[in-house]
Symmetry: D2
């Protein structure tokens, strides 16, 4: 069996500049995610970060990526438009994309959604429950009625996204807000999952249920049919077809 080739992309700035972030993710959020993904025999993992050449997302890296996981926070604007174009083309051709937490404002997510992807937020170390509204979906395999987080950043509606193809999770927050925390869409041949949990200084990605969802999502987002070519046809049909089908 061919392994699913996941690439975890991280902005990787706050882990170097902020002590409290460094404490939680000393090797960077990308490596924390890569570590738990790597424990699964059907998944192989690489990482890439903003400050590498081409943000680590060269054509070769993307050609060898089935599912790209995206974490960004403060430096969305520094991501080169040409790389955003390239990632978009790969998604349209069939590559899966998992966008985590503050990645909601990344260029690539907004590009694929066509909307502002804005929302409300609050950092008050409050409790969150992610209700599972799609118990038959691959992404919720092994998850019960809800996931409980005891200390989370709040993200609240209205979340400016196109209507999801399917709603997977809806969050409840202690302070009175709700949020569409797990949403899936298809664009071109590619599958996209937005997953709300995560924070640079709360250890959300060490939670076993959150890890389980991300592993499930990698398996779900992997392309079903390997396409021969990246990109979609924009072809002129021969004129002689008329009359003869």
């Amino acid at each position: 069996m061919n392994k699913i080739r996941a690439t975890v992309w991280n902005e990787f700035r706050q882990e170097k500049s902020e002590e409290k972030v460094q404490k939680v993710y000393p090797d960077g959020i990308h490596n924390a995610i890569a570590e738990f993904l790597d424990k699964h025999q059907d998944i192989s993992v690489k990482t890439a970060t903003l400050d590498e050449a081409e943000h680590g997302l060269t054509e070769q890296v993307l050609d060898e990526t089935d599912v790209l996981i995206w974490w960004g926070h403060l430096a969305h604007r520094e991501v080169d438009d040409a790389i955003v174009d390239r990632v978009q083309q790969c998604v349209l051709a069939g590559m899966g994309l998992i966008v985590l937490h503050s990645g909601h404002e990344s260029k690539i997510f907004r590009r694929l959604m066509g909307t502002s992807c804005s929302l409300r937020w609050r950092e008050a170390e409050e409790r969150e429950r992610l209700w599972n509204v799609a118990p038959g979906h691959e992404i919720t395999r092994g998850i019960g009625d809800y996931i409980k987080l005891s200390c989370a950043e709040m993200y609240g509606e209205r979340f400016d996204i196109p209507e999801p193809d399917k709603q997977i999770f809806i969050s409840w927050f202690q302070g009175g807000e709700v949020f569409r925390s797990g949403c899936v869409w298809e664009r071109g041949n590619g599958r996209i999952f937005y997953f709300r949990p995560g924070h640079e200084s709360y250890p959300i990605f060490k939670d076993k249920n959150i890890q389980k969802v991300i592993v499930n999502a990698v398996r779900w987002a992997a392309p079903r049919i390997m396409q021969d070519t990246k990109g979609c046809p924009n072809v002129k049909e021969p004129i002689e077809k008329i009359g003869g089908i």
Copy 2:
């Protein structure tokens, strides 16, 4: 009653440079569309074209536009990204957008869809039938089972678009192709209608049924709720809310 303020945007190049286009649309496609819209008492019309300052789409023009109709063909790339940003913001805030025919490759349509919007095509003066698959929808008011065009350019699947919120028309072409010719989506607070028919040198926009659909679509796409502000909130909620709802 306030009139619906429609603005018809046109690339307006081929009508000046190509004789056969000029013959069909001597005053430009925008004026041909404006003319039949203007006959309806509930609609007021303006036009704007590529070669005007800011492509005719200044902030003031857009502030006074409820529904923007878009025709472009050969010069999509010449549309300034800053103007595309501006139009996108207006759609997200609630402005309606109707994209006609070759506008499928316009920057603004691709921006809002997030996909390549590519397709197959053929110019063979063939017959087309647009089947009405949404007989209860405002856009098909007064249209029977199908619209017949005796001489059309073919557009064929696969059309690389996000799954429409609702399918309105599906076309049959003499040569053996089908196409999702009428599709609606919502993005932010705005309504979007893509309508396939049209060609720079076939008199499609003089067809009474095609005109009827565009008039219907203007009424459908007009914002339902006038928003105080353009754009969506990206707000930090006060921390004191916790505990007290």
Copy 3:
């Protein structure tokens, strides 16, 4: 202008048998709803109840109904299947349907959804917030970021419904649950709105915001195109069409 003809249907049992329900709705929930609808000049209202002949939903009544509002609670099973068939046919032909609160388990709603429409619930007089996730939609006209209810029955996910065409409201409950409280679907030519709030002994339908949503929904659900016939074509096409279009 023709008025929108609304018919409010009520089971009308608990108001007669339970004192605490009678106190809140002495004339029945149907009349409480009819009363606030009737204040709007563009809406005319009738009522119908379970214990009338044909449950008050004769062919003539339905022929003269643009939007049917449905409240039921304990006697869903007593609704005659033949009447359910009749209502379904009307919805498919274009009649709007608004299903309130415990109507989620009504035969007509389950018939149109195809699912069990089951959910979790709790009566604990807790606080609820209905977040507006569709600020551009007709149904939320005049509603701000959310509606606050200080004493509500809880309805919680998972709500077993087909993915809504558009999510309108999502509820937050004090006890830790969320719920897709406002959902729209189209079936045939008809528009359907499910709206969660309501309870037989909490005065929810006296809340100004809840009333506003129901008025908006009546306007939204009214048929866009009056159909000549109820029902959809099941027709055999003439064979001579082949070859000649």
Copy 4:
């Protein structure tokens, strides 16, 4: 690896009473379908027919079915409502359902859709092309741009179905019609695929591409997560939860 357990259900009447049907499917359509499914190592097949006890769909048979394939034509009304209820419960609990051709009017399909599922039709041995509009979907694996049938019954729009979750195939017919020939929906935890091709006396199910689609669909429709229980919760939450999440 556990095999996917497919059950092929057939009305199995015309094969016994009409000579021209018998010629094409001497052992019944169900056995023709079972035969090509059975060649795949990951699929095990059973059959069931209308005239067996409980139509061959006992609780035990359904408990051991991952994907049910449905063919019916003239005797839809003879299917017992209690069995339709049972099949519906299984779909909601996660069983896949593939509805073929004239099964569009079956009780089970109409039950799950909530609409009339009516359409136009014509038997004129005309050519059909099924355009693949979802080249990245599991169901179209190994299928190119379109499937060509040289002699098909025509099914034409408007097809009265809820908007599909995703459009898979759209058909072109020689006589001038189009049809949404491949559609998917989810209801409860179950996946549903409607596939248009088929006819009792044209050898459609012997076509290699049609067989490929049905095999793909069996794999796609198999439940992703095995549910402990059939049916969805309708549970009263304990009151003590309030305040403590």
